[in-house]
């Protein structure tokens, strides 16, 4: 945990981790998110939602990002009002191939779920290549209302 200053000069923190892409990888991501959420003072239900969303983003990085079997770089940055979780991978963002698209049954839940569980999702394709997903949770918001 490194001390840092955000734009307003108030205290915040950043943490990064390189997580081995093995079978317990998503478990390690969850622990990472849990600790960051607790450092940022996120409510326990919001921390759960962020864990699910972060797992989704990391599962995508492993599955589609050309990171399968390799390792994941994740980071968390705490600001006064919010927590930002980020995962970057070196693979270009690609749509599922047309034929897969026809066959996928319950696929494509990942991105909508990330959006539904967090306050903001940013997906960027940096000039240098790869895909970066950022999940933002504000400290003062209630958890998502269920579907009705």
């Amino acid at each position: 945990m490194t001390a840092c200053l955000d734009a307003t000069g108030r205290g915040c923190f950043t943490r990064t981790a390189i997580i081995d892409g093995g079978s317990s990888c998503l478990k390690t991501v969850r622990t990472f998110v849990e600790e960051a959420a607790s450092a940022a003072g996120l409510r326990q239900d919001r921390a759960f939602d962020l864990k699910v969303a972060a797992s989704e983003a990391c599962a995508n990085a492993l599955e589609h990002g050309g990171n399968a079997g390799s390792c994941l770089q994740v980071s968390a940055a705490g600001f006064e009002d919010r927590l930002e979780f980020e995962v970057a991978d070196g693979g270009a963002f690609r749509l599922p191939h047309a034929v897969d698209h026809m066959q996928r049954a319950h696929r494509g839940l990942g991105l909508p779920l990330m959006v539904a569980l967090t306050d903001e999702v940013r997906i960027s394709r940096p000039a240098e290549g790869g895909t970066r997903v950022t999940l933002i949770m504000y400290a003062d918001r209630p958890p998502q209302a269920p579907l009705t």
Partner: protein
């Protein structure tokens, strides 16, 4: 994650302990598939001891539901508040063939009175 199978009035119950994630959800899915192949039309999952579930678990529930909804149903027992909320957010909890029970007793009452909700 640990998985054992018991029965409640002849309806199979998957008792799961631990966390259901992308890594181990396929094991749960394979167990459900086997039960469906054995012509089980109603399946229960006891989630009392599941403290975490991600979309790997949700996908398994969705695909089980798709196969059971013609003539059967899928139920979960006592999910914690977070898991329950997740089931609601993905819309599972709104499906007529998906049931959420607060306790084993409630599930038992349901399987005894009717095979279908």
């Amino acid at each position: 994650m640990e998985l054992t199978i018991s029965r409640l009035s002849n309806v199979p119950v998957l008792n799961i302990v631990g966390e259901i994630d992308h890594g181990n959800a396929p094991t749960v899915g394979a167990t459900i598939d086997e039960l469906i192949e054995q012509k089980q039309r109603t399946i229960l999952l006891d989630l009392s001891q599941v403290d975490y579930m991600d979309s790997g678990g949700i996908s398994v529930l969705l695909s089980a539901l798709r196969r059971l909804r013609e003539g059967g149903w899928l139920g979960v027992i006592n999910p914690n508040a977070n898991v329950r909320r997740l089931l609601q957010i993905v819309g599972l909890a709104l499906d007529a063939s998906f049931r959420v029970f607060d306790s084993v007793e409630d599930a038992q009452a349901a399987v005894q009175t009717h095979a279908r909700p």
